[in-house]
Symmetry: C2
Subunit: 118 residues, 2 copies
Amino acid sequence: MSTPATPRLLEHPAPGEIRLELVLHALSDAVRLRIVSELAAAETELSCSHFVLPVTKSTTTHHFRVLREAGVIRQDYRGTAKLNGLRRTDLDALFPGLLDTVLAAAEAQSARLEPAGA
Amino acid sequence: MSTPATPRLLEHPAPGEIRLELVLHALSDAVRLRIVSELAAAETELSCSHFVLPVTKSTTTHHFRVLREAGVIRQDYRGTAKLNGLRRTDLDALFPGLLDTVLAAAEAQSARLEPAGA
């Protein structure tokens, strides 16, 4: 006898629980900044396997978890895939302009440190 | 025979060495955000003793050091006092709008979490 699979739910802070300090900490890492930049550019949910990152799989999982627990991304299971989406609406409401300013700063720094073609 | 005192110089990253990740990490702490907010409001250099913070003196010293090493503040000795100043010009040139956006977010969060009179 089979029972319906229990959906695996991951914990997320409610909008009112999101804290600036944790958001800034979540964004204070090159790999996590890259994940957030890709999600912002995609404007849709992306599976973890979409990202090609220069770290191990367990480190990747850790980075996604830090982003989720800070309230920067939402992670939901769809079947066996874990889909990641930027919580732009929540972040923009709480901290107007913060996400875009950080993303622009990250892009400017990349352009400065890794000239085109490098 | 006395020799002139050697000025104690503290290490600071040059503007081109300042990294977004370290700046965001430096700002990802409530005490350090408060220090930066006070320096921004003062628009002048302030001695460490100016700040009344809910942490020990050695923790305070640590926080100022994190801010200095990230390139967020400049610390200079004037006699026995250590003076702290925000590196606004450098930060605004590297990451336009970042400092003001973070400070506004910190202020909004304080107002939300600590209603007036609390």
